[in-house]
């Protein structure tokens, strides 16, 4: 078969992961940082689903795993946003780099 090879999916996941990572570490806005993390998790999910089909022993487990991941990601996003709300109330900012009252 000469369908889309596994490595194509994996590379796509890798690229997305890197983009997510870059975004999470560079963007100033906390929302964007959080959403970048979501992107990273998504990349992992692509891997899981791809391996679920093209892996050594294909099985549905990968898809199940990815469902768990998605749920967790959602929960994390919710908590992250909630924390942002609390922070915003106190600090009136959403910029990551202004959170430096504790250092050294």
């Amino acid at each position: 078969m000469t369908g889309v090879p596994l490595s194509a999916y994996l590379v796509l996941a890798l690229v997305l992961f890197c983009i997510g990572l870059y975004g999470a570490l560079v963007k100033r806005n906390v929302v964007i940082v959080l959403i970048s993390i979501e992107l990273m998790l998504n990349a992992a999910n692509i891997n899981l689903v791809a391996f679920s089909k093209f892996g050594v022993t294909p099985s549905i487990t990968g898809q199940v795993f990815s469902l768990f991941t998605i749920t967790i990601a959602a929960a994390e996003a919710a908590v992250g946003l909630a924390i942002l709300m609390a922070l915003y109330r106190n600090r009136k900012t959403v910029n990551v780099d202004e959170m430096d009252s504790m250092k050294h």
Binding site: T2, Y9, G23, R28, L34, L39, A86
Partner: protein
Amino acid sequence: MSLSGELIAFLGLALVAILGGVLLITLTKVVHMVIALVFTFLSIAGIYMLLSAEFVAVVQILIYSGAITIVMLFGIMLTKHQEREEPSKGRWGKFSLLLAVAGFAVAVYLGIYNLHIPVQPTTLHEENTKQIGIELFSKYVIPFEVMSVLLLVALVGAIVLAKKDDKDEEGDQL
């Protein structure tokens, strides 16, 4: 399933996904970034379709493109910040990060670019949702239940943290 069709679909979806990601990084308006990412999430759902994971794809669309994006947008709205994101990171920081990302990517790429695992016929696309359901409720009961606790925690946590404390309001949302 036509081979070329699958390939074209994949290329298209991948292009959109990556483009969304790139836009996320390059755009300056926060809302635009989120919107750009919606495309990525959607195309990832498409990828899942290609990988015979219909149920995951649907969940992806519902949760990511739907729920999470909306929540994020709400977040953006509620925290009325200046809409523009100014680049602030130092050049060196960015450069070294890029270097690190490149290193990471190359190292991983070396492992996967010509990964040949013999493709085995699968039945994943047949009654995908049922398969998942069976798997979930026969093998993964415990994590599933833990998951429910986790969601509860997230719920409570979100409320506790995000709630406006006016002292008169009870936590009657629950």
